[in-house]
């Protein structure tokens, strides 16, 4: 599929660094998001949320709220007959039925004329709770006798894992859950671990912890819902996948998919947090109850307290090697805290632990654990930053202990194409080695000793350099696209792809090159679920790889149809024709030709015998393309305060083929900064009762421009055999390496090894003090 179209002239398309066409609208404030929509008669929704992590609801009295002027509807669980006590997913738990399982869980919903009236109504709803013991710590929650989170008999939810990554859970061996709050288990093993540890010269055992963090999209969750008189529900949604939202909402409300239309409005950031339905079902229910359009926009506090953040992950990792550097054995537990509902991408963590480097003997046990906290969802490469933090910290420690070069040690043991991953799947070709080699050639790495020597001199603090590897195995999902020739000779590309990452311009570039027409003649549209071909989620680093393939094939189809029409007209053979400058010409005879516009016009004319050109493709996929990045940080640590300053930061990433280098750089820079945030500053902090202690953007510390240097990007291109023009996923890899890279840099600078994130000034200063 990685065919390069033969054109006599280079078409402006794939490989050009061109800005997104939506730029002018975005810089002038013209782009509309859900919260900017305001149809006539619109009502505002607010939710009453649980103040307790775990409690029984004894009584709810909504009579006073209903009596408040301007209130149009007050709903509780009993008003939505399709709700199930054993909610299979968080999205199905629209309103709590008789038990709340996290602080912030919706209990009642109000629609009112004005937001302030809805707020006032919430205060008038009386709920009587019987507070129950809560399981807040995942390790305690795994023990027998912990307060149960799910209703007995609730099935594990692995749909997110399947949507996000192609790594099959089926290949892992799952045992029976051993405690009430363990909702998923996987076990991967190979060889004789005990024997191999016995033969190891160096054994290192560490426990790595990464707290819950929030995806941090600037636009809070929002939706506008309206029903028409035929019972058709329309949702204007901020979603990463309109078809997925349609299915979820239909299922939850007991509708057919064809009764729901999802119009994807510009998504103000998702990063995995806007895949699953969250506020759509309740807003639809309020719109139904009132017969009016209802808009619900979550507040930032609601986002932080009751969004769907990334899980806390605790990894116990023990590794043994021979003195000559031979890898011997790995033994690991990965504990993924899923909050109140199942849905973690557990398998990826377990598989990566034992797959990235070639361990001949390993045993990895993975546990998804429920706690009385908001349930989690994907966050850009879900569980990979956590897992590579453990894997690449440990590789660094082993290399140090053995006294060998840390990059060479990684390169020696990296899994290569054709090797079996820990779950038996065959490893596909990728650029992991190339990105490691390229970053090791960087002057910042080669000159790291000189930087370290600056420590304590000329007012410098402790100086260090660190690097790490990280990657992702992108997901696969069937998808579709059409390419239409217009009467003016331009092309219209239609998919249902929500453009959360600048993918539309890249898809248009693919169409340009595949068809043979310059990019400025191509317009791409994201259609809603009533008009677009079925299109997969914008998630899992798979948009360009899968939708790009559909666009490529649809454009080739349109090109073939165009040439066939022209061949008839010109009495020439299709093989002799070429598209050049908006005309179909006989190769080598540029004077003889017909314009694309004339072909496009004929397909539109009354009584015309020429069919309109419509290229169609709707592929499914089988082969994945792993995608890797390496990151390097040159840092300085203040030995007294523990404050880390990043002076330089480099991302080297394998894009397969950078369809639009400008967009790829943007992904690398944004992903790297999210990765640095996980490493240095971000943590959702809960008290012993399961209450979030930092539910504001003042206290939940995201990085600002003043915290960072410019992020240097180096794109490497190792073609993906089945990717369009060789492209592979680029969204996720750059969020993976920084935690390990920065832990390695802090170790290099200070001599202390930290295994718990974030690497806060307090942790670093205490570790330095403890060593002295």
């Amino acid at each position: 599929m990685a065919t390069v179209m033969k054109t006599t002239r280079e078409v402006k398309g794939v490989g050009l660094a061109i800005p997104r066409p939506d730029g002018p609208e975005k810089v002038t404030g013209g782009t509309e998001y859900v919260a900017d929509l305001k149809p006539k008669g619109m009502l505002h929704a607010k939710l009453l949320r649980s103040p307790h992590a775990h409690a029984r609801i004894k009584r709810i009295d909504t009579s006073k709220a209903k009596a408040l002027p301007g209130v149009r509807a007050v709903l509780t669980a009993k008003d939505i007959p399709t709700l199930k006590r054993k909610a299979p997913t968080r999205a199905h738990a629209v309103l709590a039925i008789d038990r709340v399982v996290f602080v912030g869980q919706p209990v009642a919903a109000v629609a009112a004329d004005e937001p302030a009236i809805a707020e006032e109504a919430l205060d008038l709803i009386a709920v009587e709770y019987e507070v129950l013991p809560a399981a807040v710590d995942p390790l305690a929650s795994m023990q027998p006798g912990a307060p149960p989170v799910a209703e007995a008999g609730t099935e594990a939810d692995t749909s997110e894992a399947l949507a996000h990554s192609g790594v099959a859970a089926a290949k892992s061996e799952a045992g029976p859950p051993r405690a009430v709050n363990i909702s998923q288990q996987v076990k991967l093993q190979r060889g004789d671990v005990a024997k191999a540890f016995g033969e190891s010269d160096v054994v290192i055992e560490k426990t790595y912890r990464v707290p819950m963090v929030h995806q941090g999209y600037l636009e809070p969750h929002a939706v506008l819902a309206q029903w028409d008189t035929n019972g058709l529900l329309t949702l204007w949604a901020s979603t990463q996948g309109s078809f997925n939202t349609r299915s979820e909402v239909a299922d939850i409300l007991g509708l057919e998919e064809n009764q729901v239309r999802v119009i994807p409005v510009e998504c103000g950031g998702g990063f995995g947090g806007k895949i699953r339905a969250l506020c759509e079902p309740i807003t639809a229910a309020l719109a139904k109850a009132t017969g009016r359009p209802v808009r619900y926009v979550m507040t930032r506090r609601e986002e932080l307290e009751a969004g769907n953040p990334a899980p806390q992950v605790i990894i116990k990792l023990k590794t043994g090697v021979k003195r000559d550097g031979t890898l011997m054995a790995l033994d690991a537990d990965t504990i993924v805290e899923s909050g109140a509902f199942s849905g973690a991408v557990l398998t990826m963590s377990a598989v990566f632990l034992a797959s990235v480097y070639k361990w001949p003997n390993f045993e990895v046990r993975g546990f998804e654990v429920l706690t009385h906290k908001p349930s989690i969802a994907a966050y850009r490469a879900p569980t990979a930053p956590h897992t590579f933090f453990a894997v690449d910290s440990q590789m660094e420690l082993l290399a140090r202990e053995l006294g060998v070069d840390a990059v060479e040690f990684r390169l020696r043991h990296l899994i290569v194409e054709g090797d079996a991953m820990a779950n038996g799947q065959k490893w596909q070709s990728n650029g992991a080695k190339e990105v490691l080699r390229r970053i090791a050639e960087h002057p910042l790495w080669r000159n790291r000793a000189a930087w370290s020597a600056q420590s304590g001199k000329d007012g410098h603090g402790l100086c260090g350099t660190g690097l790490a590897l990280g990657g992702w195995i992108p997901g696969l999902q069937p998808t579709g696209a059409t390419v239409r020739l217009n009467p003016d000779g331009s092309l219209s590309v239609l998919t249902g792809q929500v453009d959360i990452a600048g993918t539309n311009i890249a898809l248009a570039q693919i169409a340009a090159t595949a068809y043979g027409l310059d990019i400025d003649k191509i317009r791409i549209t994201t259609g809603d679920t009533d008009v677009a071909p079925m299109t997969g989620l914008s998630a899992g680093s798979k948009t360009i790889y899968t939708v790009g393939t559909a666009v490529l094939e649809a454009a080739k189809d349109a090109r073939k149809q165009t040439l066939e029409i022209a061949a008839k007209e010109m009495e020439a053979a299709v093989e002799d024709l070429e598209i050049e400058d908006g005309r179909v010409v006989v190769r080598g005879v540029p004077d003889k030709g017909v314009t694309l516009a004339s072909i496009g016009k004929k397909g539109n004319l009354y009584m015309s015998k020429v069919p309109p050109v419509l290229g169609v493709s709707h592929p499914a996929f089988a082969v994945q393309a792993p995608a890797f990045a390496a990151e390097l940080a040159r840092i300085e640590v203040d030995p007294d305060t523990g404050q880390t300053t990043i002076h330089d930061f480099v991302v080297v990433q394998d894009a397969g083929k950078a369809i639009n280098p400008l967009g790829v750089e943007g992904q690398m820079q944004g992903g790297a900064v999210q990765s640095i945030g996980i490493a240095l500053t971000e943590a959702m902090m809960y008290d012993k009762d399961g209450r979030l202690m930092n539910p504001s953007l003042l206290d939940y510390r995201k990085l600002t421009a003043a915290d960072l240097p410019n992020i240097e990007t180096i794109i490497v291109e190792v073609p993906a055999p089945a990717g369009p023009f060789g492209a592979r996923g680029v969204g996720e890899p750059p969020i993976v390496p920084a935690p390990a890279a920065l832990a390695n840099a802090v170790h290099d600078a200070t001599g202390v090894r930290l295994t718990e994130l974030p690497l806060s000034p307090e942790r670093i200063a205490l570790a330095i003090a403890a060593r002295q």
Partner: protein, 160 residues
């Protein structure tokens, strides 16, 4: 609660609008005047997405009551382009591919305009601190910083 009449100028046009005493300037701009360029990312002044200028100074419009703008000059992102021509900062943001999801961009641009008004030839640090009140989750800020620096360098000397 009775509404109050707010008279001020918005984007160089005199406006009169009825607001509730508790409405923020952001509420009045978005819900009453339908200027939805300024965004509410937090409502607590922490993210900068609602940044507008009042009498030439950048403010978090979610923290200011609408009535506090009485008699004052408000500039929103919608007023930045001059009769259809993009402001040099807007132009640089488009050319360098800064906007991704775009939600933070109106606020960042209003902050950037304020930076250049105060420091026509800003240092890297002045740019970074100048937009440190604006959170962006997509871009990692690098292209933003580059675009602001480029727009500043391209401006004629002495331009405020």
């Amino acid at each position: 609660m009775a509404k109050l009449a707010l008279a001020c100028t918005v984007n160089d046009e005199p406006v009169e609008v009825l607001v509730r005493p508790y409405d923020t300037l952001l509420d009045a701009l978005r819900e009453e005047l339908r200027l939805t360029g300024p965004k509410e990312g937090c409502g607590t002044g922490d993210c900068g997405a609602c940044t507008v200028h009042v009498d030439g100074k950048p403010v978090a419009s979610c923290l200011m009551l609408a009535m506090q703008a009485r008699g004052r000059a408000v500039l929103t992102i919608e007023g930045l382009a001059n009769s259809g021509a993009l402001h040099p900062l807007q132009d640089a943001f488009v050319r360098l591919g800064v906007p991704q999801c775009g939600f933070c961009i109106p606020g960042v641009l209003m902050a950037a305009v304020a930076v250049l008004a105060e420091h026509p030839r800003p240092t890297d640090e002045q740019i970074r601190y100048g937009i440190a009140g604006n959170l962006c989750r997509c871009t990692g800020y690098t292209k933003m910083i580059t675009a602001i620096a480029e727009a500043a360098a391209a401006a004629p000397a002495g331009r405020a």
